[in-house]
Symmetry: C2
């Protein structure tokens, strides 16, 4: 028996104990990910973005993003776009819900999972593209917060997101899920040192801004100065034009930025708190800062 | 044996099976909360904000916020402020870590827990205070998202947060935790109907804005018009001055605002997405919208 195109039909995977299933499941752990330079993208939205990135990357002469895709028959029936996205590039293997559950660490597997290759790039590659807006996560521990910052950076049109050496692993399944596909939208640099990134950015003409609740500068001031900029004005009162290419540093959830991290920056900028909140969640602060830069740069 | 002040020393609670412990633990469930009109605030930050609200409320002739506080000896030694905050108002009961773990649903209890009375207020009370900025959660299901919106509203200086009838219960321990104390900072209205809230706000001169990815108006336009407003200008091109008293509607995580909810609004406003992100997390969108209104109102 053959399909219309002459290929034999794929046999659905139904054994959750099969070696191949175990190999995929092992990617929930960091040692396997690091050794194989692969990670899991789970659920329709993440896999869709992974396949789009795969297609675009190959079309541009780049490397493979997705190695394998496993999906339930129901999922493919519901989302026919997956077979279109994969067409000519890779075969989607049909798997039972039990097999998919064994492959992933979610309580409710979402019918589709992709084995992806690491997508991070070196800092030099990011800098070679003349970035205007970069977010750096400094020792951020919570996968959900990392995802929120990455997603906010993506929405604000940032050119890259950099994770410091002791931040959460962005390839951890919880972090991948919380980026909702944004991990495949913009370059990510991993395991970087704050002082080194700041120095290289500064050398590339990029200003280094620390998001710091105790900062001497206020984001409102920077926004107002930028909005009111007159044609020939060289330096604002704050000393910094928000429309300049900028690297934002965001600190650990509990401790904020360390003294050394703050000293790596050119300016310390506070996000105004108008109400009684004692502090901002790092995701909220990053959203406000990155959107403020993006608006100023769009205008400038 | 007596303390310096002549009172007998409190006997630490060490029996996790005691009725009192079970009574506290039951507040993790909605039926008990609803019947007793009480909920749990866990951890130093939430309890601190609860006690501050309790003190301020009583000083202003208002009602009790905190009924009981249980803490480990270690927690009180580490944070002496709790005994100062409670002084003259209520006694903090010392409890073992086992008792605290039995009272709460957290994997890592944080040494202190407060039994609080419901803090929500009627819509009429909010409107009587001439609010300038209100956030409404329309069928938001995730406790973490509800907390992020409440916290962003608090940071933006909003005057109230309203939960629609089918939103997550803000008194659910996960939601309380994710507000990190902001639940005690600003009035909360629960179980409201969107159309009713919109009508009452409109009657009170408050504009109703729907945060909607497909909105005809763009938040950048509203911000630019507001920033460039000249003294005698009556109506901007968009039709809406962002510095006006405003109610923002934020929709369900997966579906956004329903047709009926959109129709309750005066204007549908899109948060710009500059990058490749397909949509914004509701917490991110709420942050950008509420901060935009707050800035315009501060300026206006």
């Amino acid at each position: 028996m053959t399909n219309d195109d002459g290929r034999p039909p794929a046999i659905p995977m139904t054994n959750p104990g099969a070696d191949r299933v175990k190999d995929v499941a092992k990617l929930a752990g960091r040692p396997s990910r690091t050794r194989r330079k692969q990670f899991l993208a789970e659920g329709p939205q993440a896999v869709r973005e992974a396949l789009k990135a795969h297609r675009e990357c190959l079309a541009a002469g780049g490397t493979v993003v997705v190695d394998e895709v496993y999906a339930s028959r129901e999922c493919l029936d519901r989302y026919p776009e997956f077979e279109e996205l994969a067409e000519g590039l890779l075969s989607i293997r049909i798997a039972s819900e039990l097999v998919l559950a064994a492959m992933t660490d979610t309580v409710h597997p979402q019918g589709i999972v992709a084995v992806c290759r690491f997508v991070d790039v070196p800092l030099a590659e990011v800098l070679s593209r003349k970035p205007k807006l970069i977010a750096m996560l400094c020792r951020i521990q919570d996968p959900g917060n990392a995802g929120t910052v990455l997603r906010a950076a993506d929405a604000a049109g940032a050119d890259a997101v950099i994770f410091s050496a002791s931040s959460v692993d962005v390839y951890n399944p919880k972090a991948v899920r919380s980026t909702v596909g944004s991990l495949f939208h913009l370059p990510v640099v991993l395991g970087a040192e704050v002082a080194e990134v700041a120095a290289q950015c500064r050398a590339a003409g990029i200003g280094v801004l620390a998001a710091d609740g105790y900062g001497a500068l206020n984001l409102d001031q920077l926004q107002d100065e930028s909005a009111a900029r007159s044609f020939d004005q060289e330096t604002p009162e704050s000393g910094y034009w928000l429309e300049k290419p900028s690297l934002w540093l965001f600190g650990n959830e509990a401790q904020g930025l360390s003294t050394a991290e703050l000293e790596s920056s050119d300016y310390r900028v506070a996000v105004p708190v108008y109400g009684a909140a004692e502090s901002l969640n790092v995701g909220t602060a990053a959203t406000v800062c990155l959107y403020a830069s993006a608006r100023a740069q769009q205008r400038g």
